[in-house]
Symmetry: C2
Subunit: 553 residues, 2 copies
């Protein structure tokens, strides 16, 4: 977290200075923004940085318990420096949250410096490899130069210089979220890989009597649990690559002071972060559940994958809050369309398209990429304007802010559909242009399964206004079954294509060699409880209790 933050916010000299310092001195740093009492509403962070022109220092202070910095990774016991976000006060005026580099611990003794109270926040949901920390300041002084001054500045005399563009800092958020999307896609892929491999090893029950137990991957219900996760993992990965490329382009433009694409990529990365992190987490749980009891054991690796991945729904912007940010962008676009003044971002161009009366779907085989895109555009557009009209209706009855609140469920729904449209479109484009044509058949099956599954999950939206007929919806549903059948023989190859190493998957169930059962027994032997045949608790509690029972016989 340290390096990207620095890249985004320091001016060039500071960046050089701090980076060389950090690398040479083996400094461990973290980014401390969230507080005990505030995460989402950054405006109200409570930590203060008050400039003192006499000494040319900032005084960092935590006026309340809720001002404690809370959650930063590696803050508790490891970091000796942090980028601390605090309300900047100078010349008696508050200029809002700004970032400061703050030394926390002595470089020699590693003890917290005077005025700094720091520690670990305790165990979390299955993710205990980081000492997430808390941090409180008691009027702790740092030099003026420690403010990150790439965008805003405080002069020696305390004069505040505002940034040229208030959104310039967004680049970093976009970067971090684009990394997250790749990460979430990879977690889902790992889960799908483990579950698919195990489902080819596990045999349970007979389909045809007397024909022997079948691989559980032959059950339609098992395929329906796993293969949509496989499809999602591919879709999310392609989106991650796409947004990484887009970020590069935007960064290039920013260096020339061009901020045109910033709102678009900010909205897109926020929306993707939200949809991908949630659907990845849900998908991972489906993979875990599909492995029955063994999926519940840490031997499967699923519990860690889930607990790690689902954290992504909360950090770097809580998902619902993210969706509402996307909605702000969409409502502006909807307003432009309605006022006939459409200067729409490419990603919103579909909002200005005329409505098609009906879906072109005839059979699952003839359903083309452009038909699919048209259908997803249709429902996304409908929902965006439904949310827009809901908002306008409430605005006639109450304040703008309360109207926004009352429309917020519809707004979130609009954002989700907008993001899903982006995901399917990107997936289709990437597959259509895949360099190796022989890969296109199974990948196309995956795009269909992905599309059919999404359509079926929100069938009502597609049926509304007679856009899809019931027999079309039926055809889509049958398409799912056909895709499952077609993907079944390729399933293991598809997950193998991600080329996870056994050491990366860290899963007894997902072993490449399929030698699951002996490995499970071997893994179990290593349980700490198996170090002795009889636990000390027997001598201490169980034995005497039982003995007493017997003496009364």
């Amino acid at each position: 977290m340290f390096i990207p933050t620095l890249q985004g916010q320091t001016n060039d000299e500071q960046l050089d200075e701090w980076l060389s310092l950090a690398i040479a001195r083996g400094i461990i740093g973290t980014y401390a923004q969230t507080e005990l009492g505030h995460g989402t509403n950054l405006k109200n962070l409570e930590t203060t940085a008050t400039y003192d022109p006499k000494t040319e220092e900032f005084v960092i202070n935590s006026p309340t318990i809720t001002a404690a910095k809370w959650w930063p990774g590696a803050l508790g016991k490891s970091s000796n420096y942090a980028v601390v976000v605090a309300q900047l006060y100078t010349q008696g005026v508050c200029h809002g949250p700004h970032p400061f580099i703050v030394q926390l611990r002595d470089l020699e003794t590693h003890k917290p410096l005077k005025g700094v109270r720091v520690g670990d926040i305790g165990p979390k949901f299955g993710f205990n490899s980081s000492d997430n920390g808390f941090l409180l300041f008691d009027n702790y002084r740092i030099p003026r130069q420690n403010m990150l001054m790439r965008y805003s500045k405080v002069e020696r005399d305390g004069t505040y210089v505002a940034p040229k563009h208030s959104k310039l800092g967004y680049g970093t958020m976009v970067f971090v979220r684009s990394i997250m999307i790749k990460d979430q896609a990879t977690q889902l892929a790992a889960a799908a890989c483990i579950a698919t491999r195990y489902s080819a090893i596990r045999r349970q029950g007979e389909i045809e009597q007397g024909a022997g137990e079948v691989q559980i991957l032959d059950y339609q219900t098992q395929q329906f649990r796993l293969m949509p996760q496989l499809a999602r993992a591919f879709a999310f990965m392609f989106a991650a690559y796409e947004i990484r490329d887009m970020y590069m382009k935007v960064t290039e433009q920013l260096t020339h002071g061009n901020v045109d694409l910033l709102p678009e990529i900010h909205a897109l990365s926020s929306g993707l972060k939200s949809v991908v992190s949630w659907e990845a987490a849900q998908g991972i749980e489906q993979c875990r559940l599909a492995c029955g009891g063994h999926g519940y054991s840490l031997a499967s690796a699923f519990p860690e994958i889930y607990a790690y991945s689902v954290g992504g729904c909360t950090y770097e912007g809580e998902n619902i809050v993210m969706l509402l940010q996307v909605a702000r962008f969409l409502m502006k676009a909807a307003e432009e369309v309605r006022t006939g003044n459409a200067r729409l971002a490419t990603i919103c161009a579909y909002l200005a398209k005329p409505d098609a009366a009906h879906s072109n779907f005839k059979t699952w085989q003839t359903y083309s990429d452009s038909d699919i895109v048209q259908d997803f555009e249709h429902v996304a557009r409908k929902q965006v304007f439904r949310a827009y009209d809901t908002l306008k209706r409430h605005q006639r009855e109450t304040s703008t802010e309360e109207a926004w609140n009352r429309a917020s469920i519809e707004l979130c729904k609009a954002s989700r559909m907008h993001v899903r449209l982006y995901l399917i479109r990107t997936f289709l484009e990437k597959v259509a242009t895949a360099p190796d044509a022989s890969l296109r058949t199974p990948l196309t099956d995956l795009t269909r399964l992905y599309a059919f599954d999404m359509i079926t999950a929100s069938q009502g939206e597609f049926l509304k206004g007679g856009y899809m007929s019931e027999s079309q919806a039926e055809g889509i549903r049958d398409g799912i079954y056909r895709c499952l059948e077609r993907l079944r023989p390729n399933a293991v190859s598809l997950v193998d294509s991600w080329d996870f190493d056994d050491a990366e998957l860290h899963s007894v169930l997902g072993r490449r060699d399929g030698n699951v059962y002996p490995a499970l027994l071997e893994w179990a032997q290593k349980s700490q409880l198996n170090k002795t045949e009889v636990l000390p608790t027997f001598e201490k509690y169980l034995g005497p209790m039982m003995k007493e029972g017997r003496s009364k016989l």
Copy 2:
């Protein structure tokens, strides 16, 4: 697990003998059925119990690694006895799985007896308070009397006596599942209680500018996350009470040899187990996510509640397998309706009702209990027959077994809708007859929210065939918003009504006194990592690494 199993399977003398033995001797027992290689398909369990008439003993054996008993709670290190399910062989014939009482460890030394290999299976998904174990036998002998002979018997000479009714053992499963439903409902209630209380304490962001930060429970999106969980918790609890009463009735009938209600309650308890465990787990995660970062800390108690609760989707019958069992029952009923030979169980009576053309919904206020039931009956019936027709269509093309497999997604969907109908009907009935009339208003709001939320989630099913118009669906959706508004002022009282004790919730976020922030800081202090200011790892690794870095400056 020990006691209910004994009640279900022993004959009366055995029950008395073993119970008194267990209680007096402080015996710790468990029920060992699932094996490393087989959980769902009991028929293929591999552990054998071969009767030896010469010594009047059974020889218990694990012929393979996959025959290892796997998962039983308290088996690893604590139990000295177990009820072991094994394939019964006598006079050269296999009679399928039967239960046997087997001593595992010496009562004095607690060491495993010769021929018994037993241990812990290692850490699991957040649930580590039980030493779930593995167990292997090497031709281990037990006396004939240790077979549980309430239903089946083996005579001294090895003659096998079959049970009078093959389904008699189902009573125990029903009992265990009915306890599970109550347990799952309680877990969901606990999560809803924690999240609702915290949402009344946490303030974040402003709705009206300058009016100060609002309780996050005032956000529509937050209400939409939490209140349906609250409604579900009540619905599930009422269903749990109902099925407990039904179990009592069936048990009473069974003592008179009347097994009429057994298939019905078996199907119902399987279906409820599946739907309730999954929806409770999903609901708990929503409650956790609604508490942001703090929900991810173990201080919230959510991670343990989730990890414990979600296990219920797998144990006591994997959920998809359960739904397919319900489907068998429903397909029989559908067949009876179609052949005009309807002798339907009460719970299936709706399948024989004629279709209504349209929903009676006019406004959310006038939507009566019977209107709601009619609408849920309609979609459940439609789906049951859709699944039935799918099954029949496949049967014309392939074998009965493969047809079942190919229809299984539709079959599961039918089961879910059947169970949801039961849940809403029970919920409505219980609220309508609530003894305290003053409670009926908020509880009725909860029934509406529960119904509206379910309808909206599978809107497509209600729209099909024009059963609901789009404006009706719109009205239902608006009903959700109205219910959320109406429930908001009562939310905290509703969760307080469950009367959880702070020690039961074990949650810093869900404290009754609302003193969340100081308590979080206090809880964090207790982290093991905070025992020393500087961790030993600093001396060992970090310090020298940093020193080396500095020496190169």
